[in-house]
Every structure is written in structure tokens, then in C-alpha cells.
């Protein structure tokens, strides 16, 4: 009886936790995969894995990074299973155009289109930094990179994005 009550309480807590984080997890998975349907599948599968591995979450305040790691691994597994040889970015952009163009302002849609075309190795640390609020050290730990490597990727990500949006990216104003 006590076990059942305890189990129900745990389930309720875990469900509430996942519910509150679900919007952020979906956005993260979308920008990781650039494919809404795939993002939904990955988050769905990740929730199941998270529930099965719930005993490994010792501190609820660490739930978000814990779930993000599960999502990254699940996305990597999906990628391996389907053995995608290449990703046609133009097709992805066309496929997701209704959602990308849903922004009221054109300049936001332009940034979204540029993000879609950003290489994975630059897009992922940028999402972790800007969308998820990770520090450089946290990104380095999550992506298993050195701190300077993370900073280089973040620099290149912004340089490419801003250049694609017609912004000044000169390092030397005299150039």
C-alpha cells in the first residue's frame, strides 16, 4: 500500500517536472534536428527513457540538463538507426517553412532561416548558450569539448549567422 502511494507520488512529481519542461525540450530538439516531426519523436522517446532511468536523477534541480542530455543521445541514436547519409538543408527549410515563417516580423524569419543553414557543430553550442542559458563550461562538459573550442564555435556561429543576415562582422573596423 505504502509502496503504491509512494510510487504514485513519484510518478506525479516526475510527470509534473516533464510537463513544465516540455516546451523547452521540444524547442531544443527542433533546433537540434531542424525537423519538427523528428523533434516530437525524439522528445517522446526521451520521456520514456527518462522515466525508465528516473532513479539516476538524484537532484530534481538538475532535471533540465539531465533531460537535455537524454534528448541529445536519443537524437544521435535516431541518426544512427536511420543512417542518414546527408541532410538536404533546402528540403528541411522548405518542409518547416510554415513554422519558421510564423514570426510576425520578417527579420525573425530571416534569422530562423539562417539558423537552419548553420552547421550542426556551430548550431548546437549556440542553442545551449542562448536558448538554454548554459555557461561556456557547461557547454564544454555537455559536448565534451574544451572551453576554447566552445568559444571558437560560438564565435563562428554568430559570425556566420550575422553575415547571413547582412550584419557587420569585421574584427577590425579599419578593414
Amino acid at each position: 500500500m505504502n509502496d503504491e502511494v509512494g510510487g504514485n507520488k513519484r510518478r506525479a512529481r516526475f510527470q509534473a517536472l516533464c510537463q513544465s519542461l516540455r516546451p523547452d525540450l521540444l524547442r531544443f530538439a527542433f533546433w537540434l534536428s531542424r525537423d519538427r516531426a523528428l523533434a516530437e519523436d525524439v522528445v517522446q522517446e526521451s520521456m520514456l527513457r527518462a522515466w525508465k532511468a528516473r532513479d539516476s536523477l538524484l537532484d530534481e534541480s538538475a532535471a533540465k540538463p539531465w533531460l537535455l542530455t537524454i534528448i541529445r543521445r536519443e537524437y544521435a541514436r535516431t541518426f544512427e538507426r536511420k543512417r542518414f547519409a546527408t541532410v538536404n538543408v533546402d528540403e528541411l527549410v522548405a518542409q518547416e517553412e510554415p513554422m519558421l515563417a510564423a514570426a510576425e516580423e520578417q527579420d525573425i524569419s530571416d534569422v530562423r532561416a539562417a539558423l537552419m543553414r548553420l552547421p550542426d557543430e556551430y548550431r548546437e553550442p549556440l542553442i545551449l548558450q542562448v536558448l538554454m542559458g548554459y555557461s561556456t563550461a557547461e557547454i564544454a562538459r555537455e559536448l565534451e569539448l574544451s572551453g576554447p573550442a566552445v568559444l571558437t564555435r560560438l564565435y563562428r556561429a554568430r559570425q556566420q549567422l550575422r553575415a547571413a543576415c547582412g550584419e557587420d562582422v569585421r574584427l577590425d573596423p579599419q578593414e
Binding site: 506525479a12 519542461l21 517522446q44 534569422v111 542553442i127 542562448v130 557587420d168 574584427l171
Partner: protein, 232 residues
Amino acid sequence: MTDHTHYRSAIMSDPHDPDPDLRAHRDSCAECRAFTEQLLRFEARLERALLVDIPVKSVVLPFARNGAQGPRRWMAMAASLLLALVIAAGAWLTLPQRSLAAAVVAHMAGEPDAWLTDAPVPDADLNAVLKDSKLHLKPDAGVVSYASSCEFRGHRVPHLVVQTPSGPVTVMVLVHEAVRNPKQFDEHGYRGTIVPVPGHGSIAVLMRDANPGSGDVERIAARVDNSIIWTR
């Protein structure tokens, strides 16, 4: 010694890097200050661009159990709802404070026109901006020279510029951003504070560092807080 190249590389990696050497370079170089303001405007666009709208119902929680019956089911649902609210509130309150301050600075840098005038905004325009946040200002609040209802972290919030004896200050009323304690910040030439308003989220007050005679930003924030009349 930081040069243009080092400075720009560093802030392109982290636009909110608080490194004092970077700040010293920015303060002494008008070109890099302008570059930073442009970068922060872009950062505000980037943050909004990342907030794509995906309906959460597209993902069901597979561990939700359907077996509970009758009153037990309702009690379980009520408990879940309560827990969701507690956890969501807890998560909200533990969000990094620097992140909120950085978002406020980035948003403000994205609307440089807000500082350009000191002429009062017509009452009708001001009331339209404040209406949705269920508040109005006392007549002694000072001249409001800019009022806009802005999208900020997924919500529409009033963004005001109020003319005070210490110069113009930007005020953002963040009904959806609860903070535990007052948080001072000093980023990219803007000084400010985010103060909690129990039951109504928080208020961010910012002023430009270069304001001649700029006073105590906390005192101004308290005055702004006292000038608000909540209607809910």
C-alpha cells in the same frame, strides 16, 4: 591590452562576457561600442527566433497512468496540478538572474529609438500599453517619453522610458518574471536593477552609465515601484 580583434572575437563568443578588460576596451573605443550595440540587437533577434512555437500536446507523457478511478483519480489529478505549479514556480524562481538581466539589456539595446525623445507620450497611448498588464501610473510618476508593449521572453510587457531628475530611465514591468531578491547589474554601459514586486513579478529599471548626474538606481526603482497602481 585588448585590441579590436580580441574584443570582437570575445564578445561574439559571449556577448555578455563581464571581463573587465573587455569592458575597458569598450569604454574607450566608440567603434567597438557601436559594434556591441549592434551585436546585442542581433542577440535579441536571435533569442526571439529560437522561440519557435511547437504545441506541447504533440508529445504525450508515456508514464501517465490511466488506472486510477473515482475520487482517487481526482485527488491524483489535483496533486499533479499542485506539484506542477510548485515545480514550475520553483524552476522559475531558480532561473539564472544574470540571464534575465542580460535579456533586459539586450532587449533595450534592440530599441535604441526609445531614448531619442523627452516629449510625453499621449495618455491614450500610455494607457493602451499599460492596460494589458493591469496597472496604471500615479500622476507623479514623471514624464513618460516612450511606451511600447514589447514581446519579452514569450510575453507582452510594458517597456517605458521615464524622465527623472537623474535623467531618462528605462522601466520594464515584468509581471511574468518572479525574482527572489533585488538584483543589480552593470552590463555594456547600462546600470540597472531588477526588483521583486510580490504578487506582480518584478520591475527592471535601467539607466545609461554615461548619464550625467545619474543617481542611485535602486532609489529610482523604489520610486517607480511606488508610482505603480495595480488594478488586479
